[in-house]
């Protein structure tokens, strides 16, 4: 029964996300890695991981788990149902002093179990005018622990205009999700160099903003 309701909820979310955003995926030439990998994306809206999850081909979608803040997704019954049951999110505690488990260990365990991760290395939603916030170091510690994992940059475009923070009615604009070529941690790469390289790779996928012709 539970399996059925989560499947139905997942299907309804996909249909809804597609109806509102007419989302279109742009794939890298060589396609996505078929082995478990880490999709890392820009973060400006609550719907970000839903959109990435929606456009992934079903086979890859089934093994993908978003990484999300525990306090938000355990807040209410509905949040718990969506976060834990439907999306099977890897829930990590944001506040350091409330942690019982190390987030990197949690993520590494999910990868070891054969899952892919959808990760937002900015750590929080970007409400600024800057295209990207500085990356948190968690993604580096994760790949340092699992150096042979593929990292796929994913640029989510326009969703912040569909549903800006604090708004309740979505504007049905067209969104795109652009996947880049897979990257890996280079041997002896330092944290700063690695994070810088990941940010550059992600930014390279962002289109010129609408109205840049002026």
């Amino acid at each position: 029964m539970k399996a059925f309701t989560t499947k139905a909820a997942a299907a309804a979310i996909v249909v809804f996300a597609r109806a509102v955003t007419a989302v279109r995926a742009i794939w890298p030439e060589e396609g996505l890695p078929s082995r478990p990998c880490v999709y890392f994306a820009n973060h400006s809206s609550h719907g970000d991981f839903v959109l990435v999850w929606t456009v992934l081909p079903p086979r890859l979608r089934r093994q993908a788990r978003p990484v999300a803040g525990a306090e938000y997704w355990l807040k209410s019954r509905l949040n718990r149902f969506i976060g834990r049951d439907v999306f099977n999110a890897v829930l990590i505690a944001r506040e350091r002093d409330q942690r019982t488990e190390d987030p990197v260990t949690q993520m590494a365990a999910a990868i070891d179990a054969g899952s892919s991760l959808i990760l937002f290395p900015e750590g929080t939603r970007n409400q600024s005018e800057a295209p990207l916030l500085p990356f948190k170091s968690g993604i580096f510690h994760l790949v340092a622990a699992r150096p042979d994992i593929d990292l796929v940059p994913v640029w989510i475009n326009n969703l912040n205009r569909v549903m800006p923070k604090g708004e309740i009615v979505p504007i049905p604009l067209i969104c795109t999700v652009t996947f880049g070529s897979a990257l890996r941690l280079a041997p002896d790469e330092t944290k700063d160099v690695f994070l810088e390289r990941m940010q550059t790779a992600l930014l390279a996928l962002s289109p010129k903003p609408a109205g840049s012709g002026e």
């Binding site: 007419a22 279109r24 326009n158 205009r161 800006p164 708004e167 009615v169 504007i171 049905p172 604009l173 067209i174 010129k208 609408a210 109205g211 840049s212 012709g213």
Partner: protein, 315 residues
């Protein structure tokens, strides 16, 4: 069977004949010249023909479903076109409620007014009421950054995608003596002439095009394609007089006006695309780009065609 439905049937049979012929030509071309999909022009042609089939079938279903079907179809087209347009314009957080109103109030209301046959309010709802209310909603947030540009762009999006486009189904509301129950054929006349004119301009241009007509806007448009397309679409329009309330000469004249408006509509919409730095409005229709790429010439010709018919033929 009434004369109206037998005319519609003849028309549908004719359109299917043309599409079957086009599909056959596309198939032969592909077998001969592009068996492994290497010729981009032929692949694009076949994608377009396939999309044509879907569009004709959708319009056909709407016609069979009657007035409500046509209104729902064009209401959806307006919604999808507005979404393509607004995706590409300058909007800010402060416009959120104005945009929500555009999608969820203006679009349904404009088509509801057609359903209720309220011509008086239908014809001024967007140019007057939306024109004044949209900036009021936006200004309440107090964001003045690029304010004029923002409200002008939203207004243009509504005029093109909703106001102009809704004049196609508005043809159903005209009351033309001796033409009862056949108004849907006016829509067919308009759509067939506009779309054939686009296709014929393309074909003439490919065959004989030498002189570019607007190289900065649209490098594929040529004088030869334009002249050939306009003349042949005008003749086809005249030959379709039997589905309209017009004489053959009147039908040809109206087809000529429709074709010209369609051509310049295409140019204007190209200029907007250039300005935004994009090639297509969207990706809704394979081989055609976005919905607006297919609708641009229809939206410019529809209000003019509607008002000419309303002024001289309707009660």
């Amino acid at each position: 069977m009434s004369a109206a439905s037998s005319d519609l049937l003849t028309l549908v049979a004719g359109i299917f004949g043309v599409l079957i012929l086009a599909s056959a030509i596309g198939y032969v071309l592909q077998q001969r010249l592009s068996p492994n999909g290497s010729n981009a022009a032929i692949e694009n042609l076949n994608a377009r023909i396939k999309a044509w089939w879907i569009m004709v079938i959708l319009i056909g279903i709407a016609f069979v479903a009657g007035r409500i079907g046509v209104l729902v179809l064009f209401g959806f087209c307006s919604f999808a076109a507005l979404r393509e347009f607004v995706t590409l314009i300058n909007t800010r957080r402060a416009d959120h409620w104005a945009l929500a109103a555009a999608f969820f109030i203006v679009v349904p209301l404009q088509y509801y007014l057609l359903w209720a046959e309220q011509y008086g309010i239908f014809s001024i709802f967007i140019p007057v009421y939306a024109f004044l209310l949209m900036p009021i909603i936006s200004v309440l947030r107090g964001d003045t950054e690029r304010f004029l540009i923002r409200i002008a762009e939203v207004q243009w999006a509504l005029m093109i995608c909703v106001f102009c486009a809704s004049h196609v189904p508005a043809l159903l509301t005209l009351n033309i003596p001796g033409y009862d129950g056949r108004n849907v054929l006016l829509i067919a006349f308009l759509v067939i002439v506009v779309q054939l004119s686009d296709v014929l301009q393309y074909v003439w241009g490919k065959l004989f095009g030498r002189t570019k007509i607007a190289p900065k806007l649209s490098p594929s448009k040529t004088v030869e394609g334009f002249v050939g397309g306009v003349i042949s679409a005008t003749l086809i329009g005249a030959a379709l007089w039997w589905i309209t309330p017009f004489t053959p000469v009147q039908a040809g004249l109206l087809a000529f006006i429709i074709t010209l408006m369609g051509f310049f509509g295409g140019l204007v919409m190209s200029a907007i695309k250039r300005d935004r730095g994009i090639k297509d409005w969207g990706n809704l229709i394979e081989g055609h780009g976005g919905l607006i790429d297919r609708l641009d010439s229809v939206v410019f010709s529809a209000p003019i065609f509607f008002h000419i018919v309303r002024y001289w033929w309707s009660l």
